[in-house]
């Protein structure tokens, strides 16, 4: 269905959903501030954790402090953008299956996955992302490294790729809700991996492990790969081939699962 729609119409639908999301957000102010404190706490503690290690050990796997700080900042940008734009929406798949609301969405003349991707927005995520940018800039200053436009373009591209990877992974997990009653534990697992995003890639003992945690459980995507663009864009940029691939697989899995849902009786 997606391929037959006109681009203009889909653009309109997406913007309209984002507009709904914006209007909905304004009524959630109280939990907003609490959430902000939580986000800041997480940021602070990550920094405390790593700086405590650096205070005693001096380096991690040969990586100096500014490099790890850059990872922390990058991780926050990616986490922030994902939380801001997509997190609340993808979750609706599993709740929709349970409540039966999915049947409602199936009567709309719009691609169901589109409805599950765009809609609610969470402004806190933008704040986290902004702070992440601040941390990254500070880290660059500490490292006395001035990235050129070429570096920045690749970095931004890989950031977008990382968010896409996370979204595709989230859809994989939510798609399991068609077959399993309770996917809470998997969702919690995915969220937990954010804490490990800032671990430098040097800690992985071999390229096998690096591959596992890039392709299978994409932890390295959440900071290391995009940050790599700031060091060595020519090598890092090849990774951009992965997100579209994963997105296609994820969509295929979703469509197959949806078909199964419709055949098995919902």
């Amino acid at each position: 269905m997606l391929s037959r729609g006109s681009t203009a119409r889909y653009f309109l639908i997406v913007t309209k959903r984002l507009w709904l999301g914006w209007r909905a957000w304004r009524s959630y102010r109280a939990s907003f501030w609490l959430g902000i404190i939580g986000d800041l706490a997480w940021m602070l503690f990550t920094i405390i954790f790593f700086s405590s290690i650096y205070a005693h050990a001096g380096n991690i796997g040969g990586w100096p402090w500014p490099d790890v700080l850059m990872l922390i900042g990058t991780a926050h940008i990616i986490n922030g953008l994902y939380t801001a734009l997509f997190e609340a929406n993808v979750k609706q798949l599993s709740t929709g299956i349970k409540s039966g609301n999915l049947d409602r969405w199936l009567t709309y003349p719009v691609d169901t996955q589109l409805l599950l991707t765009f809609g609610r927005i969470n402004l806190r995520g933008f704040l986290t992302a902004l702070l992440g940018v601040g941390i990254t800039l500070y880290a660059l200053k500490l490292a006395a490294f001035e990235p050129r436009l070429w570096h920045i373009m690749n970095y931004v591209l890989l950031l977008v790729g990382a968010v896409a990877v996370w979204l595709a992974a989230a859809f994989f997990i939510e798609t399991l809700a068609f077959f399993l009653v309770n996917i809470e534990i998997l969702r919690a697992l995915q969220n937990e991996f954010y804490s490990y995003a800032a671990y430098p890639s040097a800690i992985y003992p071999s390229w096998v492990w690096k591959l596992v945690f890039t392709v299978l459980i994409p932890v390295l995507w959440m900071a290391n790969i995009p940050a790599g663009a700031l060091r060595d864009p020519e090598k890092a940029i090849w990774w951009i081939l992965f997100p579209p691939l994963l997105a296609m697989l994820s969509r295929k899995a979703f469509l197959v699962a949806l078909r199964h849902y419709q055949s098995a009786g919902g």
Partner: protein
């Protein structure tokens, strides 16, 4: 011209079965059983008809409706709605059908309905003129003009049902599926919705299919009823025919005292005979209390099954 055509439609589910014994066994394997939801049913509905699709819970009403709307794939058989095959979910098909699901909400909790209507306008590609006209007419029919700009969470259950209804019909569909639309609502709200459905069908000539397990829903609305039981159609005919066969029956619940013992009796009797039966009972003992009820759907279906 048939709006809806159903031929030998069948739907079989697979349900997982959990054994209560072997606690450790459950860890590794689980059996599945086949459940027949709908068993080779056939019927057709013409444009403008208002058909009641009635049956007990689990009879297969919602399953049928979901197949007509394209939500479920049939296991076998043929379905055609407005000439489309529903489960293909073609965009033009989905724009021409409407689905009112009793308990399921599509409006956003914290937003006024009007906001989501704007979104639906884009989804269904409605032009300004038709959008405003339909919205105006629906709002007027339901007397909901002051409900549109209030956040949905601030509305009462009945008010919410009204705006959800407008949302479901905003795109002026030709066929409307109503799946237990009055479930959970209080009597006043139910009446308001029912009179709306009647007017909507009458004024616009929409084809409407209503599923319910309460007879009172169909009594005021449908000229024709299809009775479904355990996936099979028991009866497909006029409502008046059904009522004339069973509508005259009454159920008497009598508490009788005989020789100091209290007995409870349940008697099915034609409405013209209630007086006579009560008289006969009064001759055998003392009537402590009695209650007269119309036949429920369960009673009617039990009778139909008994007659087969």
């Amino acid at each position: 011209m048939n709006s809806i055509k159903v031929i030998n439609l069948t739907k079989i589910y697979k349900r997982p079965v959990r054994s209560r014994a072997g606690v450790l066994k459950d860890l590794f394997r689980r059996g599945t059983e086949e459940v027949v939801g709908v068993d080779s049913i056939s019927f057709s509905i013409e444009a403008g008809e208002f058909v009641g699709y009635i049956g007990l819970n689990g009879a297969g009403k919602t399953t049928t409706m979901k197949m007509l709307a394209g939500i479920l794939h049939p296991t076998s058989g043929e379905v055609q709605v407005l000439g489309y095959i529903p489960w293909r979910r073609e965009r033009d098909f989905l724009k021409r059908i409407g689905f009112v699901m009793g308990q399921k909400r599509q409006l956003w909790w914290d937003l006024p309905a009007a906001d989501v209507f704007e979104f639906l306008k884009v989804v269904y590609e409605l032009d300004d003129a038709s959008y405003r006209r339909t919205l105006g007419e629906m709002t007027e029919l339901l007397r909901a003009s002051d409900l549109l700009n209030v956040p949905v969470r601030n509305l009462s259950l009945g008010e919410r049902a009204k705006v959800e209804l407008i949302a479901a019909l905003l795109h002026d569909p030709e066929i409307v599926f109503l799946d237990e639309p009055t479930l959970g609502l209080d009597v006043l709200a139910q009446r308001a919705l029912r009179s709306f459905f009647a007017e909507y069908n009458r004024r616009y000539g929409k084809t409407m299919l209503l599923t319910t397990h309460t007879l009172s829903d169909v009594e005021s609305l449908c000229q024709r009823v299809i009775v479904i039981h355990q996936g099979k159609i028991l009866r497909d005919g006029s409502l008046s025919g059904l009522l004339s066969e069973y509508g005259q029956q009454r159920v008497l619940h009598v508490t009788l005292e005989q020789n100091g013992i209290l007995l409870e009796r349940r008697i099915e009797v034609d409405s013209s005979q209630t007086g006579k039966v009560l008289q006969e009972l009064a001759d055998t003992g003392r009537i402590v209390e009695f209650r007269e009820e119309k036949l429920s759907l369960e009673d009617i279906i039990a009778r139909m099954l008994g007659e087969k």
